[in-house]
């Protein structure tokens, strides 16, 4: 239970293999392939509707694939083997796989029926089996790290959006995930609150070896923290490069026009 943020031995943390996802007739991901190494910080950019958020939701098992496979730490995520055949995973299998993955949402999704501390301790107590005292100690450390040690007893709805999002980050970290998914975590924040959340994330990325998959429109942040940036369009990766290269010399015309549009908008 008390192991540090994990460092798996395999050299592939996340593997998408010909993943297809449809919503009705609309194909969101078409035979998508990519992989992420342990400890990598990978940012997904691209126009809205290009399937970035869907990738995170598939990894969090909030959606199921319509084709292809996803592996995390070498384990199939939403398929299990039964009698030599692949079948959709059942709840027990999913829970064992989900343990490795955490997610921070655009709308924070803190539980309004719990105070800040309970928001952070509830899951470690319930799903990791930590004692209440241990979970509280872990939570206080994390809340201290995100700069909210004075809000432990506060009610989440009494906090600013930026503070709520920092609680949500602490809540996800309390589960000691190997992979952390960041789904437009600053998009719902007032502009002056964005920097506080991003600096917390930078610090976490710097001091842990968690693997990050991040969907964001904060291009400067993406440039600062990412090891790799993947440009998405129409459910496909159209460019995959280190941030310096992708932002300064995009190879693909679609990337260029997207970056132009984003940078024009933010002045």
């Amino acid at each position: 239970m008390s192991e540090p943020y994990s460092s798996p031995s395999a050299d592939v943390m996340i593997q998408f293999d010909r993943v297809v996802k449809k919503f009705g007739d609309h194909v969101v991901l078409r035979e998508l392939n990519f992989s992420v190494k342990p400890g990598e910080f990978v940012t997904l950019i691209g126009p809205s509707g290009s399937g970035k958020t869907t990738i995170l939701r598939l990894l969090m098992t909030l959606e199921q694939v319509d084709g292809g496979t996803i592996q995390v730490c070498g384990d199939y995520l939403s398929h299990m083997q039964r009698g030599g055949r692949f079948v959709p995973a059942d709840e027990r299998y999913l829970r064992a796989r989900r343990k490795r993955i955490g997610m921070v949402f655009q709308q924070f999704n803190l539980f309004p029926n719990m105070n800040v501390l309970q928001n952070v301790t509830e899951a470690p107590v319930r799903s990791l089996g930590l004692s209440k005292a241990d979970a509280a100690e872990r939570a206080r450390d994390l809340l201290d790290m995100v700069g909210l040690s004075d809000k432990v007893q506060a009610h989440p709805m009494r906090l600013s959006g930026g503070q709520q999002q920092r609680v949500a980050i602490a809540r996800a970290l309390a589960m000691r995930p190997q992979v952390l998914l960041l789904d437009e975590v600053t998009s719902a924040l007032d502009p002056e609150l964005v920097a506080g959340v991003l600096s917390v994330l930078k610090e976490i990325a710097r001091t842990t070896d968690i693997t990050f998959l991040c969907v964001t429109h904060e291009m400067q942040f993406a440039r600062d923290v990412s090891d790799r940036v993947m440009m998405f369009d129409k459910g496909q990766v159209i460019e995959d490069a280190p941030p310096e290269q992708l932002f300064t010399q995009p190879a693909h015309e679609r990337t260029r026009s997207f970056l132009h549009a984003v940078i024009d908008r933010s002045g």
Partner: protein, 228 residues
């Protein structure tokens, strides 16, 4: 009024409260089973829950009472009349309240369930720790309506000779001939009971809202305000 007649009133009042409180508690059990059943992933569970709500919502409570008290005994199964009354009222109000439960559960933002899944809660924990504590707050105001409906529906049991408040009033009217006074007193009596229930529910609502960090404006008929 003689003390003999007064004792009818007290007994009637006690039975009316008994029918309302136990009818509500049993109805609550039916409502949660059926309301959550209708949100189940399993088709057959949804089916059973839907049949229950549709059937008992459509059944007049009075007919249900007649069935339980006059028909069931012909199959050799005699229910205590008060229990039969509680059961009939609970089956009916439970079907209404099931829709309240279903609606309130559905109204919890989907992000809450997603966060609970992301934190690896079991399906039961998601419901108990995250969904229900929030949904219950939204259920209380419509439950207040259901409770008052139930209180009024209890007067039906006087027709199957259960000595409730209305039945006692009928007895007094028959023995004194004071029709206007008795019925006026009956109305005031029910009104006061309803007011007590409403006030209690209002307090409950405020406590529940506070648990979610919201405030409910004070006053019995609090102004509509956006929750903080």
């Amino acid at each position: 009024m003689s003390s003999g007649l007064m004792s009818f009133i007290w007994e009637g009042l006690a039975n009316t409260l008994l029918l309302t409180v136990f009818g509500a508690l049993l109805g609550l059990v039916f409502a949660f089973i059926a309301g959550l059943g209708r949100s189940s992933e399993r088709k057959w569970v949804r089916g059973i829950a839907m049949v229950y709500t549709e059937v008992f919502r459509g059944f007049p409570s009075l007919v249900l009472l007649f069935v339980l008290i006059f028909i069931i005994p012909t199959f050799g199964f005699q229910l205590n009349p008060l229990i039969a009354g509680i059961l009939a009222l609970a089956l009916n109000i439970g079907a209404y309240a099931a829709e309240v439960v279903r609606g309130a559960v559905k109204a919890v933002p989907p992000g809450q369930l997603e966060a609970a899944i992301a934190l690896n809660f079991t399906p039961v924990q998601r419901l108990r720790k995250v969904i229900l504590p929030q949904a219950v707050v939204a259920m209380i105001p419509p439950f207040t309506n259901n409770l008052i409906e139930l209180l009024k529906a209890t007067s039906l049991v006087s027709l199957v000779y259960i000595s409730d408040f209305t039945f006692a009033a009928q007895l007094i009217r028959a023995s004194t001939g004071e029709t206007a006074l008795v019925f006026f007193g009956l109305l005031v009596g029910y009104g006061i009971i309803a007011l007590v229930f409403t006030t209690a529910m209002k307090l409950l609502e405020r406590m529940a809202a506070r648990s979610l960090g919201r405030t409910v404006p004070s006053g019995l008929f609090g102004r509509k305000e956006v929750a903080a």
